[in-house]
């Protein structure tokens, strides 16, 4: 309780300092933007390093080819693509996808000051350089690698693992290298955080050793885009698992699964952390009377398997081998899902080994391998692609087919973390990023955790696409976070800042729309809410603004990606 009070006082204190600063230079401060020119003037492109370097000729060429593939597919299916969405709409999508929240008013002002043709590339560069990208994506990827469980606190350090991932993402470590660390590193879970991929599977009820079965299942899903978990107990009965080669496809068998698991059997816990020992892998196959020793063998692609080093190192090299298309496809599909809220192949971790594959997947997989598994380059490519730029509205009737073929941008519900972060961001005006005060970020983290818990964490089920529920609506309509973030708290929330900084209702309405919905109001909306503000005495305007904020955060538009 005491800590909370102190925190509150501290936040108020920051608010006072910040507002005093703001009032002394009211207009230009809105345009201030970290990384751009602090004077508020539009910065020129050379002011932001990277944009050109990251988008060389080969990148441009790849983008053109990718777009051509989609346009051909739309034409062939007789689908008219939606027109291009406006920059702010696209900026909102990219911000939600890359840093897990909506753009701040401060960022919007900066974005709009940039030359039009440079806006989106610079926006993506800005987001990728932001520590929030590394933090947000590390959590998303961690859920694929080790799940959302907190696990065994002695042998598994989820936080350490996630921070290591975040650092790797921040420096854009080649993705194949990152995955080799996960699969093959040895050492202690605190000093060598990648080994937490292994120790996350330790079951205290199962002898306190890493579990080869769970490791095999995770490896197949996260890195090969294959759900072969059911092969653990029986051969494939549904005919949904295809291994072997394209010319000679084979159904999945129990042996395929356990031969993959056998690569992990050598991983053992020792005094120096995870080491590769000599543990044999024993399995009793269905119908067998006795256990048998199973030797490690890859479930397909034996031609690029190289047998030297520890078993896990052998597996790691095979998984990330340039000829292993499954690895590239799995990664592309996951990155696409994070950017669009929906994968190219659903579910995200179940991609047919021998096809057919949807438009874009093979091409992007090729590009990803050719670029040396450059994750940021892949993100830049998808972020600039024709599907990402499509509007989610059109002048023709939009059907399920349009969304399925990416001819219009598909609607998807915001993840709980995105909702919470967006709520907090909408009420601050200034960007809450790595440069924000530590207390402010702490307060935000606490509020987000509480909100996510009540809104319903998706857990491991990352790509779950569900409609909204009653408790979620109640939380948005009456919940603490919304109440606190929309109430005109002196110096803290956007509503009171708006009431103080601008006495001009049209501007207040426009600013509220930008801060919450990342767009300007339509003429009808503007007229309506400006009247609402004029209808009350200037004293009560804070309350009317609070009502406006409530209305906007409770809209479908706010809780969906569009």
């Amino acid at each position: 309780m005491w800590a909370r009070n102190l925190l509150f006082l501290a936040v108020c204190g920051i608010g006072i300092l910040w507002t005093v600063g703001t009032l002394s230079q009211p207009a230009s401060r809105f345009v201030y933007f970290s990384g751009a020119s602090p004077s508020g003037k539009p910065a020129r492109s050379e002011g932001l390093p990277g944009t050109r370097r990251h988008r060389d000729q080969s990148w441009q060429h790849a983008l053109a080819q990718l777009d051509a593939q989609f346009r051909e597919a739309w034409a062939a299916a007789g689908l008219t693509p939606a027109p291009r969405a406006d920059d702010l709409t696209i900026a909102r999508r990219l911000s939600l996808a890359l840093v897990g929240t909506i753009p701040s008013l401060e960022e919007i002002r900066a974005l709009e000051a940039w030359p039009e043709d440079e806006r989106l590339p610079r926006w993506v560069d800005h987001l990728l350089a932001d520590r929030r990208y590394a933090e947000y994506w590390s959590e998303r990827l961690a859920r694929a690698y080790v799940g959302s469980e907190q696990g065994n606190i002695v042998l598994f350090r989820r936080r350490r693992f996630r921070l290591w991932l975040a650092d790797a993402l921040a420096k854009n470590m080649p993705y194949d290298e990152l995955v080799r660390h996960l699969l093959a590193d040895e050492g202690v879970w605190t000093g060598q955080p990648a080994v937490n991929f292994i120790t996350a599977t330790i079951n205290p009820a199962g002898g306190n050793e890493p579990d080869p079965v769970r490791l095999a299942g995770r490896t197949a899903r996260a890195f090969l885009g294959m759900r072969i978990d059911c092969l653990q107990c029986h051969d494939d009965k549904l005919g949904t698992i295809e291994l072997g080669t394209a010319d000679d496809p084979q159904g999945g068998t129990q042996a395929h699964f356990h031969e993959l698991a056998a690569f992990f059997a050598s991983a053992q816990i020792s005094l120096v952390g995870v080491r590769d020992g000599q543990r044999p892998y024993l399995v009793k196959y269905q119908g067998d009377a006795q256990e048998r020793k199973v030797a490690p063998r890859v479930p397909f692609g034996k031609e690029f398997f190289e047998g030297h080093g520890t078993r896990r190192a052998q597996l790691a090299r095979w998984v990330t081998h340039p000829q292993n298309r499954a690895f590239a496809r799995a990664t592309v599909n996951r990155v696409w899902a994070l950017l669009f809220g929906r994968p190219l192949v659903e579910p995200v971790d179940d991609i047919p080994l021998h096809g057919p594959w949807p438009v874009g997947l093979e091409f992007l997989a090729d590009e990803f391998v050719r670029s040396g598994y450059d994750l940021a380059r892949l993100i830049r490519l998808i972020a600039a692609s024709a599907p990402m730029l499509r509007d989610s509205r059109a002048d023709f009737p939009i059907t399920q087919e349009h969304e399925a073929a990416w001819a219009v941008f598909p609607l998807s519900r915001l993840r709980p973390e995105q909702m919470a972060a967006a709520l907090v961001q909408a009420s601050w005006l200034k960007t809450i990023d790595g440069q924000a005060h530590v207390l402010q970020r702490l307060a935000m983290a606490g509020q987000i955790d509480q909100f996510v818990c009540r809104y319903g964490d998706l857990g491991d089920d990352e790509s779950s696409d569900q409609a909204s529920t009653i408790p979620q609506r109640l939380l948005l309509m009456n919940g603490e976070l919304v109440k606190e973030r929309t109430r005109p708290q002196p110096l803290v929330t956007a509503t009171s800042r708006l009431a103080m900084l601008s006495r001009d209702p049209p501007r207040q309405v426009e600013t509220a729309y930008l801060a919450v919905l990342t767009r300007r109001p339509t003429p009808t909306e503007k007229a309506h809410f400006v009247t609402r503000l004029f209808d009350v005495s200037p004293r009560q305007r804070g309350q009317a603004l609070e009502d406006l904020y409530w209305t906007l955060v409770n809209s479908t538009e706010f809780s969906w990606n569009h």
Binding site: G151, R413, R454, G456, Q466, G479, L552, S555, E557
Partner: protein, 447 residues
């Protein structure tokens, strides 16, 4: 597909007005499914509805789960082995209202109700981690990274229809792993609420009636139409956004919400349950069941006794004992015990030997779960653990007689609820899943 044009019933199972007199259960179910936009459940719902009509016998309506978060020690509660090598010196076994059943002296009031309570003392599972084991107990399946299974309450809400205005699945004082709808959908997640002495979270508008009405009016007549322009015609079915706002408003103004408030209950009754959040939660659970809620979970936390087990468990039991016993008594007094199944369980038990810190560690190899009411044969005991159980032994199951799996508990509960647990549902990606892979524990059934 049977599609009904009834506007009265929404997919969340909340009726807007009382039309049930005019409608058979079957058409209601079909309407509920028809409006939900989830075609993969249709035939199932129809089949169920038909089965329902063909079988008019009275069956249990509701489920109360007393969730002991952290993993309660079986040895100081329902499975004492006084005088054994692993027992605390202070542990005593006391006789109960059920002949031949003895439980620990920490639960004297519960002992008086044992004629209504059955014990399974031989539950075994393979999960020794809190989160995974809680998932296992709540869903009847081991965690599967490719699928989230629904918890018991979610299955019941999905399989049976109700007409209450408040959530049919409620978790009071939830632990970090509240019951979820899983592949059945987020709408089956438990509504989470806290100590009934506190206001119910999120149901009071933060502003006065006039402003609240104006806010909603602005939302529904100005902002929502602006967003809907030039979008998919089925936007509202896709998002269910305004539908859930309507349902949320009905809930906010519902008289049934009072069931979550125990302050109006007689002082003597409140005192009987105990002046604790858990005691109040149990009393609220009775009231909620009475107004027609399908499943209530009440959580008592603090059972993770790695150190100082003896004192800590005794303290927990001082809270548990009056609440659990009063719950049984009150359900009986209101003639609800026959139609309400009560499950007492935590994620696992504790090691049969005391560790150097005077604590007990996680033990999924033989622990106790208690059941009462709703078709359970009170006073029975299934299975037995050995007083000689040794945590260091390689084969830990050799100390358990007649071991039962977690899924068997689920099969038994679903069976008593009248749910065909062997039926296969299709998950949203088309994977067939049975509701439970267990077998009914016949010994627990009251004839």
């Amino acid at each position: 597909m049977m599609r009904s044009a009834l506007p009265s019933r929404r997919d969340d199972g909340i009726a807007m007005c009382d039309l049930k007199a005019h409608l058979s259960r079957r058409s209601l179910l079909a309407a509920a499914v028809g409006l939900s936009g989830i075609p993969w459940l249709t035939t199932l719902a129809e089949r169920l509805a038909m089965a329902e009509e063909a079988r008019p016998r009275r069956r249990p309506r509701s489920l109360i789960i007393l969730w002991m978060s952290g993993g309660p020690s079986q040895l100081e509660t329902f499975d004492p082995h006084p005088g054994s090598r692993g027992a605390h010196a202070s542990t005593r076994a006391i006789p109960t209202a059920a002949r031949q059943v003895q439980i620990a002296d920490t639960l004297p009031q519960v002992a008086e109700e044992m004629a209504s309570i059955a014990l399974v003392r031989s539950v075994v599972s393979k999960e020794g981690d809190h989160e995974r084991a809680a998932y296992n107990l709540k869903t009847g399946f081991r965690p599967d990274p490719t699928l989230v299974h629904p918890s018991l309450g979610a299955i019941l809400c999905h399989q049976l229809s109700d007409d209450v205005e408040i959530p049919r699945h409620i978790s009071i004082l939830p632990d970090p792993f509240p019951p979820r709808g899983g592949y059945l959908g987020g709408k089956y997640d438990a509504f989470q609420t806290f100590d009934p002495a506190q206001p119910i979270p999120d149901v009071r508008p933060p502003v006065d009636v006039r402003r609240a009405a104006r806010r909603l009016d602005d939302l529904l007549t100005i902002v929502e139409p602006a967003f809907a322009q030039r979008r998919r015609a089925d936007l509202t079915q896709r998002t269910l956004h305004t539908t859930s706002i309507d349902a949320a408003r009905r809930m906010m103004s519902s008289e049934q919400l009072k069931a979550l408030d125990v302050s109006a209950a007689p002082q003597s009754l409140r005192a009987a349950f105990g002046d604790t959040p858990f005691g109040r939660g149990c009393l609220a659970a009775v009231q909620l069941i009475e107004v027609g809620v399908r499943c209530v979970e009440v959580n008592l936390t603090g059972w993770d006794t790695h150190a100082n087990n003896e004192t800590l468990v005794r303290e927990r039991c001082q809270i548990l004992d009056p609440a659990f016993a009063s719950l049984i008594r009150e359900l009986k007094a209101r003639d609800l015990l026959d139609t309400t199944l009560v499950l007492w369980a935590g994620e696992f038990g504790r090691t049969p030997r005391v560790n150097p810190a005077g604590g007990r560690d996680h033990w999924p190899h033989g622990f106790t779960v208690a059941l009462a009411g709703g078709g359970i044969a009170g006073g029975r005991v299934v299975g037995e653990t050995s007083p000689e159980a040794d945590p260091q032994a390689t084969d830990k199951l050799r100390f358990v007689r007649d071991p039962r799996n977690v899924e068997d508990l689920h099969a038994t509960i679903l069976h008593l609820m009248g749910v065909d647990f062997r039926q296969e549902l299709r998950t949203p990606i088309g994977r067939p899943m049975v509701l439970s892979e267990g077998t009914v524990i016949q010994e627990l059934l009251a004839s």
